[in-house]
Each structure stands twice: as structure tokens, then as C-alpha cells.
Amino acid sequence: MNKLTSKLKGNKLAQIILLVLYVLITSLSLYLAQASVTAFLLMLFSLLLLYYTELPDRLKWLIAGVVLIGVIPFVSSTGPGYQSYMEVATVVGIYVAMALGLNIVVGLAGLLDLGFVAFFAIGAYTYGIFATGQAANFMPFGTFPLSGESFWIFILIGCFVAALFGVLLGIPVLRVKGDYLAIVTLGFGEIIRIVFNNLDKPVNITNGAMGLASVKPPEIFGYQFVYPNQFYYIVLAILFLVILAVRRFEFSKIGRSWKAVRENEIAAQSMGIHLVRTKLLAFAIGASFSGMMGVVFAAKQTFVDPTSFTLLESITILVMVILGGMGSVPGVILGAAVITILNLQVLTEVTNYLNQLSLDGVISFPEALAPAKMQRFIFGAILIIFAIYRPQGLIPSKNPVFDEESLKEGSKKHRKEKITVEPDKGFQA
């Protein structure tokens, strides 16, 4: 095995051939064995392989695009499992975007936020309220529900409203640090959920615990988005933009100031970094990704109620970030995918399988270890195993590598005449 990987290293052609072969085989098996979850997961696994190839970044993006836009939907499209696969893929996409948002707050800026799902809720309710008759209860003008065509603008509105709430919540919350911050954010997350749960009187804004039903599906030029395979593309498009944005922020002045604050607040300040503003920006940008996906979520479910936004959700997103690798974009994407698929697919499959076994009388489980109960247990055990063997996450975050030669050339223009430098001679003049 080691021999094989060392042979592959540096041999791009072999890597491409292997990757293409892999995609072909998994596509074919998914195409033929329609309802096979394994085939679907193996198919998704090709993206991870792609990440580890040594191809140029642009090519990787291109291949990922082809696989995600074309291959996956196509090869799974003919069988009975189609919509359920697309549903899983869509949910993965939603969680990936949220985890990337939380990664900015926790991974880059080092602010432990246990109430992150609040911003997802804000996005969902923003669209939910206006895309149902609900808004008519308190809006003095306009006719509601708004049409599904407003969805596209609401993605932006959800983004901004969530960012705004990120700032509003951040102002009081960021006075505290460390463990206290975690507790306060946890409180705020719950407050938001409870407010949504109770804002049906005196004016009925959120319809309380009953939730908002029949949210208008997105629509463009008379074409409606109702099925998972349609939402899949919306999520993919947003996700693409989110990843692009995250990468750009991470390696910019803004990203550096987040990391500086994470590493040492006092030193960061003494370098001229405005502490509060930097933290608020992390909160706002992280929240905005969640807000956008909240809008999509509301439209996809066509139903919004407070039970979707519990503390468990916040913690799940945090687990995605930590499991994937704090501060690592590829890691967090993988973490979100792994956790979502574990929850939605693998563990339910395992449970079903065990249930079947016990029905057939092959094994009998005592009541306390019923397969359905075991699901959470297995999930927890997997997390512990990861935490022990990959404490830095599945794909630990990497620092950028700068090209010394080009900097050497450029550094000359910053030199004042009288300064002489003799590189690497220490302090010696």
C-alpha cells in the first residue's frame, strides 16, 4: 500500500486515470444497483480522492463541478432512490454552508458559539413569514404570501438579516470571553428559538409552536422548484459562492486579523486591530451563510417551526467543525458531509438492518439495546474514536506556503537606502 502511494505521488497522469476509473466504476455501480446506499457513498467519496490528488486547483474545481453538477445527479436519476439521494445531498450542502459559517467564528476567530443555529432560524423565518400568509397579520401594506419569485431576493435578504442579527447579538455577547462566551451564546440561541415559539401574540408574527405551513416554493419564469433534485442545484450554487467567499476571506487582511485575535487578543490589539469590530465581522459573516441556507431550508421544507432549531442542531454543527478540523475549509466540508450522511443514511441503514435481523430472529436485542436506541450510541462512539485518533480533525488546517524567491525579489523595493540586510545572519550587523 505504501509502495503504491509513493509510486502515485508526483505522477499526475496516473492520478487522473485512477480517479476517472474510480468515478466510472462507482457511477456504473450506482447506475446499475440503484437503491444501493454504498454505491452512492462511494460515488461521493470520489470528491475526497480528488482533493488528495496533486492536480492544479483549477482542474480540481472543474472536475468537482462536473461530478457534482453532471455525474452524480445523472447516474442516480433513473432509480427509485433518486429523490432520497438528492435530498441527502441537498441537506449535506446546507450543513456544509452552515459549518463553514461557524468555522469562521470558531475556527478562525476562536469564538466558541453554541447558539449558531439561531441565524439559520432567522433566515428560515425571514422567508417563511413573507412567503406565507403570515405577514398579512402585521404588515399594513402589500399582499401576502409573496410569490415564489421573491425567493431569489430573499436569499440575499436572509443573508443580510442574519448578518445584522449577528452584529446585534454580538455587541452584548462579545463583552465576555472564553467559556462564558459559550454559555452566553447558548442562551441567546435558546432565546431566539423561544421568541419564535411565542411570537404569536400579541401580534401573530411567527405563528408560534404551530409553525408556518405551505411556504411558497421558489419559482423562476414560471418554473417551480419543489423536488430535492431541483433544490440540489440551488444549494450547489450557493455553496460554491460560500466556499469562494470563505477562501478569499481566510487569506486576506480580514482573515489574518481573525486569526490574530484567536491567537492572542492583546498582541492583536497592539498591532492596531480593532478587537470588537473584528469579532463582530466574524459573527456577521458566519451568520450570513446560515441565513442564506435558512431561506433555502424554509423553501425546501415548505414548513418552518421552532423545533428545527434546537440546541442539538447548534451542537451538531459545532461537531462538524471540530471533527472536520477547526479552521480548515476542506476539513469542515468533509466533517459536515460525514456527520450528515452518518445521521441520515448510514446509521439509519444500520438500524434498519439490525431491526430486520431481530425480526428474523437471527439475533435478539434486550429492550435497553434496541437498535433504534443504539443509533445515538454508535454516533457517540464514532465521535470519540475520531477525537482520539484525529485530534486535529479529519483534515487539519494548513497554513499557506509562501514562495520565498518571489518575495526576495519584491522585498528590495521596501528597503530604505541606508538599510542593509544580510539575510539569516541574525542580529549581526
Binding site: 486579523s257 486569526k259 490589539q269 498591532m271 509562501f402 519584491g410 522585498s411 545572519k425 549581526q428
Partner: protein
């Protein structure tokens, strides 16, 4: 001409007066040392100047503007940079990025520019890398540019702190025990380096130091703190023979034989 004027500066922690009515004037372009026994209040004095703590009383003036009440990042913008006694680097990012953080306030990139990677932002970022690299060359850490800051040797970490501070282009540079933990050779190099910085960069330097050889060799003016109070000030030769100073360091018996 004086660049820093401190008057009547006082800071209490509960019942402890860490800095007690200290007056100090630092000449522009000079190298000044602040010395005193452990716990004398030297670091607290720096923290008051840089806004980490707010004084209970007194004034700190840089040039013509008062710094009292300003936040640390605002004081940095006024042109004061510092290093820390207990090194405070950004441990988990690269050496080059540490220095780039020092360039923070001179970079203009905003949210929109960053999102769209405008030409201006890309050029600015490239220049920042080059400039940061230049500061690494200046302190002799260029070949470590891609290492994590925490993996540097102790002496190198101290140099990186200086490079990061210089990147902010300070008028006034405060060094808190720069030679701590250095061997004699490194200390000698540091002494030369501090001289060079002053020549090359037109920067005024105030340093806290326990290494008396370095202090006497380098400083034009010395202030001595003890129990929060300034007990002496003067040229190295004056301080060396000052009775109060000898008392503070060695105890009364050193001055008045029993």
C-alpha cells in the same frame, strides 16, 4: 525635543500601588532604559502607555496628543509598538503572517474588495507579503518565513516580535526585557541591533531590561523604578553610583556597612 511625556502616572491594583506618580520625559531619537527590581512596576508602566491598562491618575502624551483613555489599537495607530515580556506571538500562523498582521493598519482592503479580489486588493496583498518579508530579512528570520511561529527558537521568537512591531512603523518602540533568556552572544548581537534600528528607522526606543551590562552600554537615559515609584533618573554613569539605586537592588546593608 521630547516625544513621550508621562506625568504623575498612577495605577493601583486593589491595595497595591503598582505605579505611583511617575514622571518621565523621553527624548526623540534616544534609547532609554527603565530598570528596577522584580515587581517594581515596569511592565505595568508599559501597559499604561500602550492602553492595556487605564491609569487611575496622570497623563501620557505622545508628541502633542494625550493617549489617556485610548484603546490599545488606537495607541498603535498613534505610532507606539511594543514587544512583550512573556512572548505573545500568533503561535499557530506562519512567521511571515505574524509580520503581515503588523501591517494591518496600513492595508485598505475591505469586505467588498476582499470578496471580489479587486486588482487593488491583490496588489496590496502582494506588496504586504513583500514588505513583511523585508522585515524578516531585517531581523534575520527570512529563511523561516513558512514556519509556524511557535516552532521558532526562543531567541528567534523575540526577534519575530521585534519584526512584527517594526512592521507597524512605530515612532516609539517599547521593548519589555528583550534580552531575557538570551545567551551572551545573542545579547551582544541584540545590543548592536538596537543601535542599528535607531539609526536605520528613526525610531525612539524605550526598553525594560535586567541585564545591566546591556543597559549601561546602550542607554542614554535611565529611569529606575522601585515599588512603583521612580527613585532615580540620569545617565548610566550617574545611575551606577546612585545610592538609592544600589539600595533598591542590593538592600540597605550594601550602602551602610553594619
Amino acid at each position: 525635543m521630547s516625544i513621550l511625556t508621562v506625568s504623575n502616572l498612577t495605577k493601583q491594583f486593589g491595595g497595591l500601588v503598582a505605579v505611583n506618580s511617575v514622571d518621565m520625559t523621553v527624548e526623540k531619537g534616544s534609547i532609554t532604559a527603565v530598570i528596577g527590581p522584580n515587581g517594581a512596576g515596569k511592565t505595568t508602566f508599559f501597559n499604561l502607555i500602550t492602553g492595556v491598562y487605564q491609569p487611575d491618575n496622570g497623563n501620557v502624551q505622545l508628541g502633542s496628543s494625550s493617549l489617556v483613555g485610548l484603546k490599545p489599537h488606537e495607541i498603535s495607530r498613534h505610532g507606539i509598538a511594543r514587544t512583550f515580556q512573556n512572548i505573545r506571538l500568533f503561535s499557530n500562523i506562519t512567521v511571515l503572517e505574524n509580520v503581515m498582521v503588523g501591517l494591518h493598519k496600513q492595508l485598505k482592503a475591505g469586505i467588498v474588495g476582499t470578496l471580489f479580489q479587486t486588482k487593488k486588493v491583490r496588489e496590496e496583498e502582494q506588496l504586504a507579503k513583500e514588505e513583511a518579508y523585508h522585515w524578516l530579512e531585517y531581523v534575520g528570520l527570512a529563511k523561516h518565513l513558512n514556519e509556524d511561529a511557535q516552532n521558532l527558537s526562543y531567541g528567534a521568537q523575540r526577534r519575530l516580535e521585534i519584526a512584527r512591531a517594526l512592521a507597524t512603523k512605530p515612532k516609539l518602540l517599547l521593548l519589555d526585557e528583550p534580552a531575557a533568556g538570551m545567551n551572551p552572544r545573542e545579547t551582544r548581537e541584540l545590543t548592536e541591533f538596537i543601535h542599528r534600528m535607531r539609526e536605520d528607522l528613526d525610531v525612539t526606543i524605550v526598553l525594560i531590561e535586567h541585564d545591566m551590562k546591556l543597559v549601561m552600554e546602550i542607554s542614554e537615559q535611565i529611569f529606575v523604578l522601585d515599588h512603583g515609584e521612580k527613585i532615580a533618573e540620569g545617565k548610566p554613569a550617574e545611575i551606577r553610583n546612585n545610592v538609592k539605586v544600589i539600595e533598591a537592588y542590593l538592600g540597605k546593608s550594601a550602602v551602610t556597612p553594619a
